[in-house]
Each structure stands twice: as structure tokens, then as C-alpha cells.
Amino acid sequence: MTMDGAVVVPGISQGAQWVDEVLLAGPANDICFRLTQPADGTSVPIDRAKLRRLVRDRQSELAEAGLRPGGAAALRLPPSMAFVTHLLAVWRSGGQAILLDHRLTEYEVRRAIERLVPQVVVEPERPIPAGLRTFFEVDTAVASYSGHPAGTTHAVVQLSSGSTGPSKVIGRTAEDLVEEVLRYTRIDGVPLRGERLILLPSMVHVLGLVGGLLYGLHAGVELVPPARLTGDAIVQAIASGRTPATVLGVPFHIGLLASVQRPPNLPQFKRMTTGGELVPASVSQSFEIKYGVPLANMYGMTEVGVIGTDLAGVHRPAIRPAPGIEVREVDGELHVRRPESPYLGLSDPARWSDGWLHTRDAGAVDPTTGLVTIRGRLDSQVSVGGLKVDLTEVEYTLGTLRGVEAAVVVFDGSITAYVQLRERRDRDHLEADLAQRLAAYKRPRTLHILDQLPRTTTGKLVRDLTVLRKAAP
């Protein structure tokens, strides 16, 4: 089925009608979202007919603001119906969506816009209130920027904390997104039509975006963001319906559920699936004992989407590559087959070469079973609440601040910075400057100012944690 107004763009091998065919098709009265009103806690269903109507309205607004087929729109929105409808409207207009996490600073957003020249930028009209919402009510402002077409034919462009200083830019085509959505349909244990997905990760990032939003729309799964990010609110979301419910989250959310003191009986709770780093065995055991449902694990990357899963929780810590995904191990590093480099404006053979993406994850592939074990990062990327942060980006940004001679940033339980100054500056001012340039989740928890950073005899900065800890006053 195709709705009116979907644009086919020359040069994009899969026209924008993929949105109608893969995401918006289905009975008009299918419930796509069930939202909780913050004011009184009542539940608001959004069905497919309403979603289609909202998407069409957004398309008109975007066109009026100057978005043309083949142009890009930057969406700087938190998870919200505004995000969902603008994203689908951009794609339906034959455009490219540049996804900017709403927690990025003005500085980071400005740099992204200068680099990616969108035709329009969609932002919240008012600042997003603090709190523990997982889904927001947002009024949007659409600003017109340039008349340039997008630099590439990717449907979605995302920024990832970069090892070379500024963020990496990752593009994925519509075909690639559709392929991932269909990949999910072939994995045993994913939520099925008529079931519910309690959605905790941000849908601006790959797990929530494809594993939650796009798969949910495609499969006819009801998406239910809990009213708040607390254990009780997640339990309430599961208990709010009778149909089977899968919770999609990151390890932090397992901790929330595992420590709910007296959860009610939840016969509809089917599974909890998390992406990101592995959880300690004690947490996973306490979760499984408390709820009696499998704790499933997924492995994926912004560049590829889902790479492998263990949805029955029987292979932990290993995962089985998802259908159609080929993983190999080269010198202890996992590579994933990708015909084209996902990186925009970057040609780094250490990241992609000869049809293989170098994940920078250490790991092994069992030659008999094909199961993949991930053993941690080979570079300076760390995970903060499921969000990826490259310590090199933090270090680079610290180095650009006034008065900073050199900086070393390490992960010592949390992001920790050691800074040597060339002029007198106090810590508060330095931290305030950094807050202008780096989103809060990327910033060091602790910032040590040293007279001299430890160096080797050849003058290189020392990164050894023991040495750095000793050098701090």
C-alpha cells in the first residue's frame, strides 16, 4: 500500500515509498504507540491512521521550510512523536535525516550543521525539561538553512564519538535499514505482531531506532515508552496491558528492574533484551530469579545495526550472528562484512577495508558453532549508560580549551581527565568551558589539574592509570 505524496528520488536505489511499504503499511486501527500523559498518567494510543496523518502534515511543513527531495534535514529532537513523525516525513519526502542527540551542546550541533549542510533543522521550540522522561511532548521549530542537496544518498546520518577528535559521521542507506528491519524478523524470540515492546533506549540511536521504532512499526508491535525511567515505571508499563511484553534496554535498566523490591506478578512479561556491555553474572541471576524470564543479549553497532543476538539467554556471554551477517576474527579483532564503508568523508583502512568493517572490538568466532564472543574494546571507546564515548574526543576537546597545554583522558571507573595548563585557570572555569563544547555524558566525572603530566623519557604522555593516580594531588 502506498500513501499519497511519497517521493521517488533519482539516485536513491530504493525510493521513498519504502516508508509506506515497510513501516506504515497495515490496518488503520493498529496501535503503534501507547503513550502516558505526564499530567494524569492516562494512556494515549496512537494508531496507524493517526501516524500517517501526522507524517503527511510534517511533510508539508518541511517542504514549506525548504526541504527538497535529495536534501537533508537535521533532527535535534528527544524521543517524541515529533521525532518519529519528522523522521518518517523526511524519508517520505525523499530526504536524508541527520540525527543529532538532543543532549549535544550548541557547539557540537553547530559543527555538525556546518559539516553536513542540511536544508532544514528541526529543534524543540522550548528547552527540554530535566527529569526522567523516556518520551517527551515537544513543540517544534523548523529553521531553513541551505539550498544544498545532501552530500550522499544515505537515508540516515548519525554522529558517533570519534577517535580522531571530532565525531565520526556514519551513513546508512534506506536499503540497509530495510535489510536490518527484515533481519530482525528472522531472529527467533523478537516481539511479534500484537505484542508490546517497552522501549527504554533512545530511538535517536541504533538500538532504539531500528530494534525499537522501525521494527515495531514494521511488525505491528505496540511501542510503549514507560512514563519515567524508574524500576516502578517500567513494571507499570509491563503491567499496563495483557499482551506479551518485551523490555528493550541497556544494562542500566536491568539493574533498575533487578532492584525493584516487590514486583507484582507479571505473567505478560516475556523477555528483557539489552544491548551494550555485558552485565555481571550476579545482576543477571538476580533479574532472572526475580522475574523468571530470559535475559537476552544483543550486539550491534551504529554502522551496521544488529550484528548478533542471544535472545534465549543461553549462550551468554556469546551471541549468534544475526541472519545474513558474517563475522570473522582477524588478529583478535572482530570484522563484519559490509560491502561499502559506512563512514562519510573518511577513508581509514583501519576502520573499513575490502568489504569488511573493523569493529575495534576484541573477540573470537568459534569455528564449530559460529558463536561470537566479544572481549572488549581495542581502542579508547567506552560506554556511558549505553552511549558510546571515545576518550580521544574528550581529550582533543580539552586540548582546544584556552590555557590547556596537554590533557590525558582515561577510564578509571568513570571518565577521568588529567590536565596540564600553560596559564593559570581554575577548575570551575575549565569545566564550564568544556560544558559549552561537550555533551554532559561525554564530560569527565573528575578533572585533575597537574603542574606536569607524567611523560616517558621520550616525552610521550603516560596513560598508565597507576602512574596518573599517583601524580594527582
Binding site: P129, L132, R133, G231, D232, F252, G255, S259, R445
Partner: protein, 76 residues
Amino acid sequence: MTLMPPPPGRAEIIDWLAGLGERPPGAERIDSMELAWLVHQVEQRYGVELPDDQLERIATVDDAVAVLAEVLTSHV
């Protein structure tokens, strides 16, 4: 009627936060994940939901002590 325990002090809050993972010694600032964890702990131990406008006031451990003292005392 069950008597609500007294609001947590600084040491108790630091102890709750440590349940989330290792904290740098002396860390005063509370990040967004820790804030979520803190609110969850309050819900579990006191059965009280902290409103968003109160959460905006919590940036450090001392802020948490002050806000929780205020909110939890008013619930007694």
C-alpha cells in the same frame, strides 16, 4: 500506618550511588544516570515519586541530601 524512615543522609546517598558502580573517591557531582538511580532508590525505599521540578535542583550529593530531606519530610 507504617512510619516512613528518616530522609537519607550524605553517607547513605553515597552508599546507594555506589550500588550503581564504582564512583571516583570524593565525587560530588551527580550525573543523569546516577540521578535516575537515586530516584529509583527513593521510590523503592520510601514509596515516594520525586516530581521533575525537584529533580532539576539535584546536581550534587549535597543537593540530593537537601532536596530529599525537604520532599520526604513533607510526605510524613
